[in-house]
Amino acid sequence: MRAYFSNIIKPKAPIVTATLYNPLLSKKATVDFMVDTGFAGGVLISLDIYTELDLHLFETVKKMGRVVTGMTFELRASRAILEFNGVKIPCMAYTSLGVSRNLLGREVLEKLKMTYIPKQNVLNLDFDP
């Protein structure tokens, strides 16, 4: 797992590189996630990553995603497993057509300790058992 700030996005964004697996651990992908405390779910990923991991084969019923402006849209939802510093964290993975940025949400963040000091470029995430 690698945590860093991306300067491509303004203001700079906290990014975590982690490995995402399907529930059987038979497929995996290395994904750059933007840490997003506004996202209540586990991870939001692009459809490419979702299908690459075969998550469409482990789905539950669709959920409704709601952004702060109140707009809603359908989200596909599946169980997945995120690997963080060697620790595997089960979480829900969501996708929708056109999602282009991968997000790491509060369902995962509540299991971690995070130090966030952007002025000093400090972003540390550790598993909090």
Binding site: D36, D48, L57, M64, R66, V99, S100, R101
Partner: protein, 135 residues
């Protein structure tokens, strides 16, 4: 005969032109709209869209079956895991992992693994915050 669909926000001038062309070619406006929609889909038919549509179609078939039989299943198998694919029940399993293994061996287009008893209405909201970026 297709079903009746009302669409808001159609450009009136564009509609008049289409109506004139339809009349000249002795076609219905519906057939022209269908042709236009097919063309639009073709223009956007990269692999991602067609993959999405394929999964979506299979999802709908599986969901219809799930809704139809769910209350019956809840009475008999509450707490177990139900797997559905190809619009058929694959089985009821004691654990998610067993259900997932079976799905992995037997399914390709789309599959559900549902813990029997959980809410299956497509209404649970997930707060997405801001921003969410789309292509």
């Amino acid at each position: 005969m297709g079903r009746l669909v009302a669409i808001k926000g159609i450009d009136r001038d564009l509609y008049k032109k289409i109506k004139a062309i339809a009349s000249l070619e002795e076609r219905t406006i519906g057939s022209i709209v269908n042709e236009a929609l097919r063309l639009w889909l073709l223009l956007r038919s990269d692999r991602k869209y067609s993959r999405w549509l394929k999964i979506e179609e299979a999802y709908r078939e599986n969901y219809r079956l799930l809704v139809k039989k769910y209350s019956e299943l809840c009475e008999r198998y509450k707490g177990k895991y139900l797997a559905i694919c190809n619009a058929k029940f694959l089985g009821v399993f004691d654990s998610f992992e067993e259900a997932a293994s079976s799905v992995h061996r037997n399914c390709s287009s789309h599959a559900f693994i549902i813990k029997i008893g959980e809410d299956i209405r497509e209404r649970e909201e997930i707060e997405l915050g801001f921003p969410v970026e789309f292509i």
